[in-house]
Amino acid sequence: MADPMKIRATMSGDKVEVKVLMSHEMETGQRKDAKGATIPAWFIQNVTATCNGKTVLSAEWGPAVAKNPYMSFKFAGGKPGDKVAVTWVDNKGDKRTDEATIS
């Protein structure tokens, strides 16, 4: 099971600023291990963020994103107390959802 994300969601003027840290290997599929065997690709493919259930961000990722990714974005229409949920799904079908309250 993947480790939890760290999510911070704060008001920044009239927008909500969301900062997310994800725990993931983000293996490119290009690297070889000590024995010379290719390490299979393993990376986050889809990221979505919702605010009180409504999608505010939807992204497709590839193997070029670094290990333990950090993502930051802003959206309009949120207010303190609203719930921001972030979900990622990787190319093995593993997924994780975590939530934060806007402050």
């Binding site: 480790d3 760290k6 900062k19 840290l21 725990s23 390490i39 670094a66 333990n68 930051s72």
Partner: protein
């Protein structure tokens, strides 16, 4: 003869360092900008969160959490504890750093064997280190506080003196000491500035920014790892995890950093 070669190698290296130090200061400024950009969203927080969980979870044969562990300021006190380490502990009659103290508590409170606990001191491909996570959580709880290592108990004084001796002790195939790379101002290897750890300001800056998330490794690294890797760079025999030598060196460096404001887990290239 062999010794002469060692001295020659050291002399050649010293020259190479000096030449690098002449390079444009702006490179260093640019690296500082890179570090600042990475500082927002430091993945070390993922380790801190996992470590807090590990600290509070009932684990091991005795199904106990670590919340009764005395890491320097009394049982269960996490906040500020890292600023007083290494420190003499009466129950083990030893000077211990954070990592050796965690091992002690995982053995005595949780009932793990020492071998189980120190099996993976450092994380790597496909394996996570519980110790590095615990270290991240505990050190993070001292952020913003001043380093305040006592070093007054006779065994603490002894550890400090041994650490200082090791720091200046030359040996190995290149006749290097820690001080060869960390005993002068403005030394650099490739793009890495080498702190002059015999000076207070540099010792403070270095010590108060470990542990750190190493971007190049995608891992959070503890201070024991830092020393382990510098032993390797020095071409010394492998430093044994939480060995008396490693704790003595930590004592020397931590005490030299007294008065500095602790600011880790940090992020490094």
């Amino acid at each position: 003869m062999a010794r002469n070669f060692g001295l020659m190698a050291a002399a050649v290296c010293a020259l190479a360092f000096a030449a690098h130090a002449q390079q444009d200061k702006s490179v260093i400024d640019e690296i500082e900008k890179y570090r600042a950009a990475l500082g927002d969203g430091n993945p070390a927080e993922l380790w801190e969160a996992r470590g807090e969980d590990l600290w509070k979870q009932a684990r091991g044969p005795k199904k106990a959490s670590l919340e009764k562990c005395d890491i320097g300021l009394g049982p269960g006190v996490v906040k500020g504890a890292y600023t007083v380490l290494p420190k003499y502990f009466g129950d083990t009659d030893k000077v211990e750093d954070l990592e050796s103290r965690l091992v002690t508590c995982m053995v005595t409170l949780q009932g793990f064997t020492r071998e189980e606990v120190v099996k993976d001191p450092f994380g790597g491909p496909g394996k996570k280190s519980d110790l590095e996570a615990l270290v991240a959580y505990i050190t993070g709880s001292s952020r913003g506080m001043k380093m305040n290592v006592a070093g007054t108990h006779p065994k603490e004084r002894e550890a400090y003196e041994i650490g200082q001796k090791i720091f200046f002790h030359r040996g190995g195939p290149h006749d290097f000491a820690c001080s060869t790379c960390h005993g002068d101002d403005n030394l650099r290897i490739r793009l890495q500035d080498l702190p002059n750890l015999s000076k207070v300001a540099d010792a403070q800056r270095a010590y108060t920014t470990w542990p750190a998330y190493r971007v190049s490794q995608g891992e959070l690294r503890s201070f024991q790892w830092r020393l382990y890797d510098c032993f390797r760079q020095q071409r010394f025999p492998e430093l044994v995890y939480t060995s008396p030598a490693s704790i003595a060196l930590t004592m020397y460096l931590a005490k030299s950093a007294n008065g500095g404001t602790y600011n880790a887990p940090a992020i490094k290239r």
